[in-house]
Symmetry: C2
Subunit: 585 residues, 2 copies
């Protein structure tokens, strides 16, 4: 458990006295805000415990309300401005301490990739503001974060936290097979600290055997059911690497668990998200792979997926390239290539397709793991489900998938999303795996414009909230930490907010029509595109595209109203018609 988590939560909606000492200057007037592609705005800047506010006139139109946690990097530049005295209409007490004729510029590079520039009259104010933002954005204690203080009137605290219980997911499965059971072997997080209290395991394997298998897997992440494919009766499992080690240790319980998972006469594929060489090298550190001799019905496939530092650097390079306005076309394409981001997208989608093919075409079960089983493993299992299972492609189903395969499955959001593309503090544990997943989902939505019930806006909202949020959904690294921090008791759930009708409306894909088929994406490089809506969001605002989207949505809504006799349902009819035949190759 990371050491930064205090044992007792603060009182709800505490006045946050702890922050006051970090705020040296709370208010500065005549601050000019500049953003790319937007006219500059002048106003009063306020720093609070969690927000940076800029209002264009005191008490009037609010121009900016920025969560300080969203700030990824602060750059400051002070300068003597003898030649340029900014106009002062409202002089105030603070003015007396200001060094005459000097000012400073603070550039805030945000985690959502936005870049803001603040021109602040007064060198001291500028330095104070910068150091406050730096300090406040770096507070690492989970329970000091904004979700613990955010109390919107329209939501109740408990809303949204229990929308997607694993029991519900299991009920679907148990109606189709009796080979699996819900296990509470991890009820107190002692078997695996990064798993949720309930998991799905083979019905024939008892909890004692599961506990032994867990001791043979890194971090205790024993094989659990991730997805049951009704069409073929095959399953997708996930785990961490086995602790084979240099002495080629074995574990009968682990072997039995995986054997039982295949059923009688079944066969399976172990999809290792490391290269064969990396998997072999892992033995020296105590890890390794499942040897053929001990797991005779399993065939191993290696598909190396990047994670950690190389992925983080790929992300940072891409963002830097996207925001460079001076590039020639050649240089842009060269740097797009050398960032390797699109290669990562292609590799992730290809590997997910491979997993889906094993289940759907080869009628084999699949076990996915890399080393820790918390990153590329989840990327593959979540994407494969989206490709295979239409119920994951609804708004609710997708949120359930995220909850199951990312949040409760123990993707360490707190560590991975601590910093975004701009930060100079390259932490070892960072990695934009979740962003890579969202990008792959966007590629699917582009190739299958009818088949996902949600649009780009949901993906952008998820990206933003994973890195800085008013909600507790993406806080902490796993369910154990969330339980210790009382996240579900003391913060609001993002799902609660998104399930409000007026929010849902904005997230829906107006062209959606249920498509029962597998959606096999094209993974040729020619088919993979840069996600402009994310990477160029603040640089080249897609205002016109947003309007087009809104207009289509409005048209669909109007069309839904049963106006003409007998034609009220034409929309859904004609929509389901092309889709029924589409999407499967």
């Amino acid at each position: 458990m990371p050491r930064e988590i205090p044992t007792r939560p603060p009182a709800q909606a505490a006045p946050a006295m702890e922050f006051s000492e970090l705020i040296k200057t709370a208010t500065v007037e005549n601050v000019q805000l500049s953003r790319p592609g937007q006219p500059a705005v002048k106003g009063t800047l306020c720093i609070t415990s969690h927000h940076l506010l800029l209002s264009s006139r005191p008490g009037a139109d609010l121009e900016l309300w920025l969560l300080i946690r969203n700030v990824d990097a602060v750059e400051k530049r002070v300068q003597n401005l003898g030649w340029h005295q900014p106009p002062r209409t409202n002089s105030c007490a603070q003015d007396t301490t200001r060094l005459s004729g000097s000012s400073g510029t603070i550039t805030l590079r945000c985690k959502d990739l936005q870049v803001l520039q603040l021109e602040i009259p007064g060198m001291e104010e500028c330095l104070n503001i910068a150091s406050s933002i730096e300090a406040l954005s770096s507070v690492d204690s989970v329970m000091m974060m904004y979700p613990f203080f955010y109390r919107p009137q329209s939501l109740k605290l408990e809303e949204g936290w229990h929308l997607f219980p694993l029991e519900q997911h299991f009920q679907q499965i148990s109606s189709q097979t009796s080979q699996w059971r819900l296990s509470t072997v991890n009820w107190d997080f002692s078997t695996c600290p990064t798993y949720p209290p309930t998991v799905i395991v083979p019905a024939a394997v008892g909890d004692a055997a599961v506990r032994k298998a867990a001791r043979f897997r890194q971090g205790g992440r024993f094989p659990v059911l991730s997805y049951f494919h009704p069409k073929t009766g095959t399953v997708m499992l996930r785990s961490s690497q086995p602790l084979t080690g240099p002495n080629r240790r074995r574990c009968r319980e682990d072997e039995a668990l995986l054997g039982t998972a295949l059923g009688e006469g079944g066969r399976g594929f172990i999809l290792d998200t490391r290269s064969a060489q990396a998997a072999k090298q892992a033995r020296m550190g105590g890890g390794g792979t499942e040897p053929k001799a001990s797991y005779p019905r399993w065939r191993r496939l290696h598909r190396a997926l990047e994670r950690g530092r190389p992925l983080q650097e790929s992300f940072a390079r891409l963002v830097e390239t996207c925001s460079d306005p001076s590039l020639s076309m050649d240089r842009w394409l060269g740097r797009l290539e050398s960032s390797r981001w699109l290669s990562h997208v292609k590799a992730a989608l290809s590997t997910a397709c491979l997993a889906a093919q094993c289940l759907d075409r080869e009628q084999g079960s699949v076990l996915v793991h890399g080393a820790e089983g918390t990153d590329t493993t989840l990327l593959v299992t979540a994407l494969a489900q989206l490709i295979l299972d239409p119920s994951c492609r609804t708004l609710e189903g997708f949120q359930g998938l995220l909850e199951r395969e990312w949040i409760q499955a123990g993707h360490p959001f707190h560590l991975r999303c601590a910093r975004s593309a701009h930060s100079h503090a390259r932490l070892k544990q960072e990695g934009p795996l979740f962003l890579l997943f969202l990008d792959c989902v966007w590629q699917l939505s582009r190739q299958f414009p009818f088949s996902l019930q949600f649009g780009e806006r949901l993906l952008l909202t998820l990206f933003d909230n994973a890195y800085a949020s008013a909600y507790g959904t993406f806080l902490c690294n796993n369910e154990k930490e969330r339980s210790l921090c009382k996240v579900k008791e003391s913060t609001h759930s993002l799902w609660g907010w998104l399930s409000q009708p007026e929010q849902q409306q904005k997230l829906l894909n107006p062209l959606y029509s249920h498509n029962a088929l597998v959606i096999w994406p094209s993974v040729e490089p020619q088919s993979i595109q840069l996600w402009q809506g994310l990477f160029l969001r603040w640089i080249r605002p897609s205002q016109h595209l947003d309007e087009a989207w809104a207009e289509i949505q409005r048209l669909v809504e109007e069309n839904k109203a049963p106006v003409k006799e007998g034609t009220g349902n034409r929309l859904s009819q004609s929509l389901s018609e092309p889709c029924a035949g589409a999407g499967s190759r």
Copy 2:
């Protein structure tokens, strides 16, 4: 005038006896057709004077109807098939001549970038078919081409040929300024063989002076009015290079014409589409630029745009790269970069923006020319008008623009579009300038989804028809040739076909709403995208995207029906609202 044009047209709808000797084998059965991404089809292959037909059963469902003019390259491969005898259900007389156990494969690479593969039983048949297609697709005589034989029942011959007279365009201008007049100085094509009979020149300049100015310009292409910008009263002119030559010749009439064009106190920009160095070197060949001393109110700007061989090779390299399924992401991006196509798109859009800025922001007039004034010159003048003038963005207005600035302006379509990306016969005069223009228009339509009344389908139709067509619109190199060949009397106009309501319907952008503003595109490399709809049309069919488009169209249509009291007009209201404020930066 190219030597291949016969002096007398053939009788209308002649039985084309001339072709019969080129067709050695007219029919082959059991031919298998393969296309990427589609199931193979077996049927009877027929070769006619102008078409290749493949029907799946005799007299039944027609599978393919290919204009032989569309074939860009023919590749044949014969092989002994001892191990694989194709099934023969209907043996016929031709079978007796067939070499037993042999067959051949013909790959047809089409000008519209489609690739077809025909597996033909019988080596001799295969060779005959291949040589027939080669010969028929290479017929270079304009009046032997299909448009002279095509007689659709739904159209009359004269329809569409007089939809966009220059007089109509001039009427708009003359309602706003009296500085310009229609001139028939070129009524018999003697002043400039590549100009239409009517042109617009300064009212104060007489035809005698125009004739003298024409002798000072390459190919007689004296400066004519291309566009009048009502907002600032400035004009865009186009011409070819002046024949300054090594001795720095001058022409008072040319200088006076350009001086008069500026009006009193006006100033202008000469936008030379060659580099400064290339323009200087052109003097050795008799060409050159306008020296400052002789044209004191004109300032010269150089923006080098590629044309001819380098552009053709860029196109060929891009198409080759797009159809290579084996590329890694790195290699794809590297080859996309080295094809340089997107650089050409960016350069063309940037230069058009520069011309538009001169007119709209700098309040200066513009003269655009390169060397001959028939290629990059027209690219820039046509694009600039699309950016500046909302009336060019309607379906009809765009067709008028094409007629004015490409067809009648003398872009040599016959030479430039003789061969497409696949041909190995690299002719010196080829160049996909018109495709580059269409690609730039597509970029505009993507960045401004509301502002063009037409969609991608029109652009694809134009590309297809420029390279191979049943219509006469893109035949020949200029109006003089069209007149000699009696194109307007003996062929149908593409505009006639497209103006039929059922065709128009398919071409319209359902989201269109009149936008009175200038649409300034972003020309940063990050904003320029590969036109997948064209370059990947046959490789990765965008079936789902087409369906989405059709669905939006249907929604708009249903919404237009005045069903609810008082809401019937909501669509057009809400559409014009966001657009009124959009598009201008």
